[in-house]
């Protein structure tokens, strides 16, 4: 079903080789912050599937059908989604020429406008798919077109984060709309592609090797999303390559740092830890919809990260190994209680993948992820532009 490349086949079928590869990656990731900007290996055969980010055509149809049938948990999840302010078709765009995301006191421009607009565009795109109400399609397109027409400069100290997070949601909206709404004019689509390539991509192109892993990950998932929408395979390979063996904190093995599932940001705080594994999961979902299995890499390391984080935030103790991150800037000697227990809407996706989409994973290996999903169900928004959120609506699969 999925056209796995040679690399993932090796991982799936040869544990000895896997161990060697992991060791090699650790050796190669010299923990510096210098990139050799070589063309990455090809991970994906052409062409891309559209829509093919978080939601395939089948996913969108499933949401629509289940909501129409009034089946749970989709029914309740949709009610929560529909009642969210960013799902409203009355949203007007607030496009500007210049957005700055900055940590400097007194700096920062229009980032709030962008965040709200990309979330609204995405949620209206899903609303259009689920309800068929063209008002939502028009709102999504209106927002995207307004930004594509206006937006020219994205900068600031935290631009990598801002660009990665926001472009992911805007591309997610655009990917759905291009595939489902023929009235979106081709010339507008081209302008949109140009905005993704010329405004959003430059800040994220070199990732964020000096920062906590969620920065790299924002860049990676944003890059992966742009690549699919713009049919740019080299860009796609660049993002996927970083997931497997990038030298920053955002690559999978640098973010979920051991077999226990400890996160690079576990010693920082829990919200960022959930943000980061949520990003990883979103990349995996794009990969899945493009026929790749990134979930299973390194013996389902992603799931271990989810289990560790869910378990701790559900109130249980977890082992913590003092750890200095790959950048060397953020040593941690104990797990952080900051934000503990405030679960974010990221668990349904991974729970459903392991419980219902693939076979052979014992339930005790995802029990904490399930508990977190159960506790939140139906999941709400993904905290501004951080994660997709609404996982109960988006990712719930029919139980066999």
């Amino acid at each position: 079903m999925h056209s796995l490349n040679v690399y993932t086949r090796l991982i799936r079928y040869n544990k000895w080789m896997l161990t060697l590869i992991i060791f090699f990656f650790y050796m190669m990731s010299a923990y510096g912050q210098v990139l050799k900007l070589e063309k990455p290996v090809a991970y994906h055969p052409k062409p891309f599937t559209h829509p093919g980010l978080l939601h395939s055509a089948n996913d969108l149809q499933r949401m629509k059908d289940m909501v129409a049938l009034g089946r749970e948990p989709w029914k309740s999840a949709f009610e929560k989604f529909r009642s969210h302010p960013w799902s409203s078709a009355s949203r007007e765009p607030h496009a500007v020429q210049h957005v700055e995301r900055s940590l400097l006191i007194g700096a920062g421009k229009n980032i709030g406008n962008l965040e709200k607009d990309v979330c609204a565009a995405y949620q209206n795109a899903v609303m259009w798919s689920v309800t068929g109400d063209e008002a939502h399609a028009k709102t999504a397109i209106k927002i995207i077109n307004a930004w594509a027409e206006t937006f020219k400069v994205f900068d600031g100290t935290d631009v990598e984060l801002g660009a990665g997070l926001n472009v992911f949601k805007m591309v997610s909206a655009a990917e759905i709309m291009r595939a489902t709404y023929p009235k979106w004019k081709q010339e507008d689509i081209e302008k949109c592609k140009m905005m993704f390539r010329d405004v959003f991509y430059p800040p994220i192109q070199y990732f964020a090797l000096w920062a906590h892993g969620n920065w790299d990950l924002a860049c990676m998932k944003g890059m992966m999303a742009i690549a699919v929408f713009n049919d740019d395979h080299e860009m796609f390979d660049r993002a996927v390559d970083f997931y497997y063996k990038g030298p920053g904190n955002g690559s999978l093995l640098h973010y979920i740092v051991n077999e226990e599932g400890q996160g690079q940001e576990s010693g920082r705080d829990q919200p960022h830890s959930m943000l980061g594994i949520g990003h990883l999961a979103e990349m995996c979902e794009i990969g899945w919809n493009q026929g790749m299995d990134m979930y299973s890499f390194a013996q389902n390391r992603l799931l271990k990260g989810f289990e560790y984080t869910a378990r701790y935030n559900l109130g249980e103790d977890v082992p913590f190994q003092p750890y200095t991150d790959i950048s060397g800037r953020f040593p941690a000697d104990k797990i952080s209680t900051n934000g503990r227990g405030k679960l974010r809407s990221i668990f349904e996706q991974v729970y459903n993948h392991y419980a219902f989409r693939i076979k052979g994973i014992p339930a005790d290996q995802y029990r904490y992820t399930k508990q977190a999903a159960d506790k939140l169900r139906p999941e709400g928004a993904g905290f501004n532009a951080d994660n997709a959120g609404f996982g109960t609506l988006f990712f719930s699969l029919p139980q066999p």
């Binding site: 010299a30 510096g32 210098v34 050799k36 000096w210």
Partner: protein, 590 residues
């Protein structure tokens, strides 16, 4: 004494009179204004009727004008009230026909009377704390007690009733007959704050009693750019200054509440409005703290072909900011082919950079005999290029002392240098905040403010004699294609394609009055295959989002050696001389 006062105030008085009675001629630019010790400030400043003081000439100069000074000693402080208006409309202060023009911060002191025990005595009407005395151009040693004045050329002072009593030992000489000078001025050439586009050429400045400088406070210099930019200081001689020879600094301050939202050095945001100085072919010597010093003024500046020597020679400066060249916030600074030698004191460095010198390049410099090491690189995210430098620690230096000290300084790229007895220190800064900013390439736009580490260094194609770098593998560090000789050891974690010389180089530098030569047994050179050292080969420095680049953003390829020879082949000798065995056993370096 009254004569001295009249001499001092006369030029000022004349300026006042001229201004008050409308004697300032209407500006007709560009023009030449002539100055001579035999001139008069009531003259018109023409070649036949020169002015007497440089200060008065400066007050009359307009953009595009040239002030031409005849030979002589000018005992005044020159302060520009205005500068040029562009690169092509500078105000130039220049020695006429390369005449020997000297601005002195001292006044001649006569009126000495004999005291007991071979001492001479004089009285100053004011209370003076800091002071320096020269006799027949030799600096006299200030001592604390009368007993210590028993040797010649020593002096001490006491205060009585608000007056300063000086007691000095001139040996068998009479201070009223010889040239006895007391330093009374704290600046040679300066400007009102923010004066741009000045050229100072061929002027000697000496005997300036300026205060010590700090990156976090005032930074007075014998020549002091005072927040101006685009100054050219060329072919000048700066000597016998109490502290800094040339200051290109803007007064700094302590950032007590620094945090990532309000980091240190966030006051400077526009690269075009700072620095851009050219400091070239100057001789800076016998200055008590540093040759060239400055916060921010090093940004986009070029410092080249200067001879800087005998810094802090009497050990009077005991702070930690002494160096031949000491710069902070020196983004895209270019420091090329300077000879820096004999920087004294346990904190005296050849070049001390930091915090922040992203994009700087240090190339073809010869640095030797510094009390604390040759390079001190502090708090920076890089990248910085060091190529074709010749760095020689003194044979008498403490064996444990590192020649290159990198502290919380990332991404230093060392290529084709010659290191003699020069090991490295590479560390963080324990117990202190190391967060510092990096900028968007070739700008002062703060990109990130995060801890500076000890990572990402490069050591390619260098020649190590006597000592190797001797550092543990830094994260992201790379080293290869180096040549090791005379006991220098390759790095255990790298150097796969490096080589060891079989014979001794018998390396030595031989200094003369104005230069230095290298002597060695060139037969020890051993060619190896070295890849083309392109910017891509050295890597993309992801934090700073740049390669090794020129200030205009173009990538640097290191394909020239110290002698400007072009690399024609991959097989060549590591170090700063491509020619290898074809070289002479004696090479003039400066």
């Amino acid at each position: 004494m009254n004569k001295v006062i009249i001499f001092l105030i006369f030029p000022l008085l004349m300026q006042f009179v001229d201004k008050a009675f409308g004697h300032v001629p209407a500006p007709v630019s560009p023009k030449s204004i002539y100055v001579s010790v035999s001139g008069s400030d009531r003259a018109d400043g023409s070649v036949t009727k020169p002015l007497r003081t440089i200060s008065y000439a400066v007050s009359r100069a307009m953009p595009g004008d040239r002030i031409l000074v005849s030979a002589g000693v000018y005992r005044e402080s020159v302060v520009f009230e205005r500068g040029g208006s562009s690169e092509h409309k500078r105000i130039t202060l220049q020695a006429l026909n390369q005449a020997k023009v000297m601005i002195k911060g001292s006044d001649r002191k006569t009126g000495w009377v004999k005291d007991k025990n071979k001492l001479w005595k004089c009285m100053l009407d004011s209370f003076q704390t800091g002071m320096m005395l020269f006799f027949n151009d030799k600096k006299m040693v200030n001592v604390s007690t009368l007993q210590e004045c028993s040797n010649a050329l020593r002096w001490t002072k006491t205060m009585e009733n608000g007056k300063t009593i000086i007691l000095a030992n001139f040996g068998t000489s009479d201070p009223n007959v010889g040239l006895t000078e007391i330093l009374v001025r704290n600046v040679g050439i300066s400007a009102r704050s923010g004066v741009d586009y000045l050229t100072i050429e061929g002027i000697a400045i000496s005997q300036i009693f300026n205060d010590y400088a700090s990156i976090y406070a005032e930074q007075p210099g014998a020549i002091d750019t005072k927040n101006g930019k685009y100054w050219n200081i060329i072919g000048c001689s700066i000597s016998e200054c109490h502290a800094v020879g040339i200051s290109i600094g803007i007064p700094g301050h302590v950032y007590a509440d620094a945090n990532p939202g309000r980091p240190e050095f966030n006051d400077y945001t526009d690269l075009a409005s700072v620095g851009h100085h050219k400091i070239k072919e100057n001789h800076i010597f016998n200055c008590g703290q540093a040759g060239v010093f400055g916060l921010i003024g090093g940004t986009s500046s070029t410092i080249e072909d200067n001879l800087i020597e005998n810094i802090n020679q009497d050990g009077g400066y005991t702070g930690n900011e002494s160096a031949g060249i000491r710069l902070a916030m020196a983004v895209d600074a270019t420091i090329t082919h300077n000879l820096i030698r004999r920087v004294y004191g346990k904190n005296g460095y050849g070049v001390f950079l930091g915090p922040i010198f992203q994009g700087a390049r240090l190339s073809r410099n010869i640095i030797s005999d510094s009390g604390a090491g040759l390079f001190y690189l502090f708090k920076n995210h890089g990248p910085v290029l060091f190529d074709n430098n010749i760095l020689a620690m003194a044979d008498t230096a403490d064996k444990d002392m590192a020649g290159v000290k990198m502290e919380a300084s990332e991404a230093n790229v060392f290529v084709q240098n010659l290191f003699y007895n020069c090991s490295f220190y590479n560390g963080r800064q324990p117990g202190k905040s190391v967060s510092t900013s990096n900028f968007l390439p070739h700008s002062l736009v703060i990109k990130q403010t995060i801890p500076a580490l000890d990572i990402d260094h490069r050591l390619y194609g260098n020649l190590f004699i006597g000592k190797g770098a001797g550092i543990a593998k830094p994260a992201g560090g790379e080293a290869d294609f180096n040549l090791y000789a005379d006991g220098a050891l390759p790095l255990s974690w790298a150097d796969l394609n490096s080589s060891k010389a079989e014979n001794s180089f018998s390396f030595r530098l031989e200094h003369n009055q104005k230069g230095v030569e290298l002597f060695w047994k060139k037969e020890a050179l051993k060619p190896i295959k070295i890849p083309v050292l392109t910017a891509e080969f050295l890597g993309f420095f992801a934090l700073s989002k740049q390669y090794i680049e020129y200030p205009d953003g173009k990538k640097i390829m290191i394909d020239r050696d110290f002698l400007n020879a072009v690399s024609g082949t991959l097989e060549r000798t590591p170090g700063p001389f491509y020619q290898g065995k074809g070289l002479k056993p004696r090479i003039k370096l400066f």
